[in-house]
Amino acid sequence: MKKLSLVALASATALCSGVAVASRLGLQDPETPIARQIYSLHSLILWICVVIFVAVFGMMFYAILKHRKSVGHKAAQFHESTTVEIIWTIIPFVILMGMAYPATKTVIDMKDTSNPDLTIKATGYQWKWGYEYVKGEGSLSGVSDGIALLSSLATPMDQIYDPKVQKSENYLLEVDTEMVVPINKKIRILTTANDVIHAFWVPAFGVKQDAIPGFIRDTWFKVEKPGIYRGQCAELCGKEHGFMPIVVRAVEEDEFKAWAEKRKAATPAAAEAAPAVQVAAVDAAATAPAAAAGPVDGKKTYDGLCAACHGMGIAGAPKVGDKAAWSTRIAQGPATLAKHAIEGIRAMPAKGGNPALSDAEVTAAVEHMVGLSK
């Protein structure tokens, strides 16, 4: 059966080989010590399974060929053997212990997040990632203290929705702002989330950790080669779950320091440019005043959040500029509109799914949309 499906598979693959990139059959190339351990654990167990599978089903197919009525085989009547039962209980048990031993070592290594060189807090939002380089212990002597990035999908909408538009090489796995880390340093990732559960996953690092609202979890990795590593959110988090990639750029330490200096020099501007979302993220006390001080800009909120639905009229959302759809809503009066946007209505979650926005910001965004749709 397996053979048949492989044949079918091979021919089908040949058929559509024009489509793109070579397909992989196994795990991604591991780029951290943990990922390498996972890779070899998987290979070990897979091959043990293959050997047992071939042995057991070799027996079965031998019986199917030889012990059939059509070749005149008479049925034996044996049906019990305590010895045999004990043997095939104990042998698998021993094999399992052989698998459990290396697995236990890897579990303990994966859990050891102590003494990091650099700590980054990754916050999941619907639907983007925020990265904050944390101060204090394990902050690489403070070079990147306080850097905060917001990282969202960079693939343009028309590549997703319009089959005629050529898809880019890293379609759906490209972001506007990458996480940057130094190589050969132990990076500890703290995960949390703002709304629902997300998961931070970079396959080549062997790292996957749920990001849970209200809780902090952690994991770690140490990359050895400079390069760009791509992952995705791995926990269903709502409609754009498939569209919140993770991109990590690993660089030499010098380059990292230079990047951090530049980033910090740009910070006042960066703080203003970064949507309020990130500010309110977790360290609300430290950064909230900055957000409060900035002017309330409805267009910015609209572009960063509301446009996801209202830009194209998704999920019954009135499309901006669609006068017919908006006229009945505008008729309800600005107070009602703002109330609906703040509390959520039908498919629209409260504050468009970002509770970190202030009421004033949501109201400003609504006014902006109304202005475009009269």
């Binding site: 598979l9 089903f57 890897t106 579990v107 590549q159 849970i212 809780f215 498919a347 979650p349």
Partner: protein, 528 residues
């Protein structure tokens, strides 16, 4: 009926057959109710299958062609809910209704009216699920696991799903009480527990699992409901709750649920393989003990679904060891089946083909389960297509293939006619081939890093997704052959003898004509 209430027996005989719709609405006959369960589950199987084809059609190529992402999430969620609660579980209850009284020599199920009620709860639940596509915001798109807080965010469709789960849970609990009572009290004289056919044993154990865990699920979704509407904060961290609590409660139900869907399948296969090998089941008592061990272990492995939530190393290690341990009794079962076939005198009619197919392909799912049990590997593969491949290998090639095997095996007893062997074999080979085309490639997708539950993917995954989609449509169409085979068999065909299978030796074959009379075993047979 005599054994249960002898005094109104004569009365029963004269008036037992209201006709038309009333017959089905009011019936208390285990055969009628079993038939209704089976048709209901087939209807849900087709509905859930159509949703699956909607998923595969969107994933045929990169880019969004057919659905908006939120509707795609509704498709995956409702496919899961319908298949688990609407198709697989009721189908096994249908088998229990038909077969348990026949196999233990009982006249009917113990609580005949409750039996009727537990079936008739299901259609309203199914209507709630289907209607949820039509309410504002559509059906729930939180995944069949309905994880909070995402499920707290959902629209009204989520509430309909919660009520549907409540109703189906009540139905399952009543069905289980009925099955346990029937098995423990209504066996024919001489049939000790250790003489029961294995199908009856597996259902006895399954029914206990159902009673243990369905209330847990009901609790989980009720907490969701109150979080959504009544201001509680069970799963809301801002209010002192914990989103991960939901997952613990859900999987305390969810993992035994996995065995609820597979143990009766083990039972069916354990009846069929000896019948077609013309040789008694090897290791009957060790099969019983293995089934019980799996059931007990199923309560202490739930958190292997949650390795990436971040639990202490000790927790990960405990759940890894416990999960790996399940491979031992499962292995015992596979070895016993192969030993049953060894030195038999086998023939390969459709039920045997599906059973051998089950054994072969289900075991692949068992092995990927073992690979996933290993925490570090699971962390890499959790929420990828590898997991999708794994559970479809155990649920489709496992549960579903066993259901097909059982249907072909017992159709002659149910209808009095032989099914068409040509159609049956065609159905088997089409299902087997298309199943593997669909799901084998998903292992590669998962290993290479494609997350599950995404409506669109990067281009490196394009080839295998296209293959899987082609296979899925082939598999879907193959099920029409099954429908044709069953309808043809019901409408006529070669008359079935009382025992068309040389090696079958349970009471329904040895003591009853085909078709089994409307009231069977009014006088219980004596089992030596």
């Amino acid at each position: 009926m005599e054994a249960v209430h002898g005094h109104d027996h004569a009365h029963d005989h004269d008036h037992h057959h209201p006709t038309g719709v009333t017959r089905w609405l009011t019936t208390t006959n285990h055969k009628d109710i079993g038939t209704m369960y089976l048709w209901f589950s087939f209807a849900m199987f087709i509905s859930g299958g159509l949703l699956a084809l909607g998923i595969r059609a969107e994933l045929f190529q990169p880019g969004l062609q057919l659905w908006r992402p939120e509707f795609f999430n509704q498709l995956t969620t409702m496919h899961g809910l319908m298949m688990v609660f609407g198709a697989i579980m009721p189908a096994f209850v249908g088998f229990a209704n038909w077969q348990i009284p026949l196999m233990i020599g009982a006249s009917d199920m113990a609580f005949a009216r409750m039996n009727n009620f537990s079936f008739w709860l299901l259609p309203p639940a199914a209507l709630l699920l289907m209607a949820s596509f039509l309410v504002p915001g559509g059906a729930t798109g939180a995944g069949w696991t309905l994880y909070a807080p995402l499920s707290v965010q959902q629209g009204m469709g989520m509430d309909l799903a919660i009520f549907a789960i409540h109703i189906m849970g009540a139905s399952s609990i009543m069905g289980s009480i009925n099955i346990i009572t029937t098995i423990l009290n209504m066996r024919a004289p001489g049939m000790t527990l250790m003489k029961m056919p294995l199908f009856v044993w597996t259902w006895l154990i399954t029914a206990y699992l159902l009673i243990a865990v369905m209330p847990v699920l009901a609790g989980a979704v009720t907490m969701l409901l109150t979080d959504r509407h009544f201001g509680t904060n069970f799963f809301n961290a801002a209010g002192g709750g914990d989103p991960v609590l939901y997952q613990h409660v859900f999987w305390f139900f969810g993992h035994p649920e996995v065995y609820i869907m597979i143990l009766p399948a083990f039972g069916i296969v354990s009846q069929i393989i000896p019948a077609f090998a013309r040789k008694p089941l090897f290791g009957y008592s060790s099969m019983v003990y293995a089934t019980a061990s799996i059931a007990i272990l199923s309560f202490i492995v739930w958190a292997h679904h949650m390795f990436v939530t971040g639990m202490p190393a000790a927790g990960q290690l405990f759940f890894m060891y416990a999960t790996m341990l399940i491979a031992v009794p499962t292995g015992v079962k596979v070895f016993n089946w192969v030993a049953t076939m060894w030195k038999g005198s086998m023939t390969f009619e459709t039920p045997m083909l599906f059973s051998v197919g089950f054994l072969f392909v289900f075991t692949m799912g068992g092995f990927t389960g073992l690979i996933l049990a290993v925490t570090p590997v699971d962390i890499q593969l959790q929420d990828t297509y590898y997991v999708v491949a794994h559970f479809h290998y155990v649920l489709v090639a496992g549960s579903l293939f066993a259901l097909f095997a059982g249907t072909y095996f017992w159709l002659p007893k149910w209808t009095g006619n032989m099914y068409s062997e040509t159609l049956g074999k065609l159905h088997f080979w089409c299902s087997m081939i298309f199943f593997n085309i669909t799901f084998f490639v998903m292992h590669f997708l998962g290993l290479a890093g494609m997350p599950r539950r995404i409506p669109d993917y990067s281009q490196q995954f394009a080839d295998f997704n296209m293959i899987a989609s082609i296979g899925a449509f082939g598999f879907g169409l193959s099920q029409l052959i099954f429908l044709a085979a069953v309808v043809k068999c019901i409408r006529g065909g070669e008359k079935a003898p009382a025992n068309p299978w040389e090696g079958a030796d349970t009471l329904e074959w040895t003591h009853l004509p085909s078709p089994a009379p409307y009231h069977s075993f009014e006088t219980p047979p004596v089992v030596k």
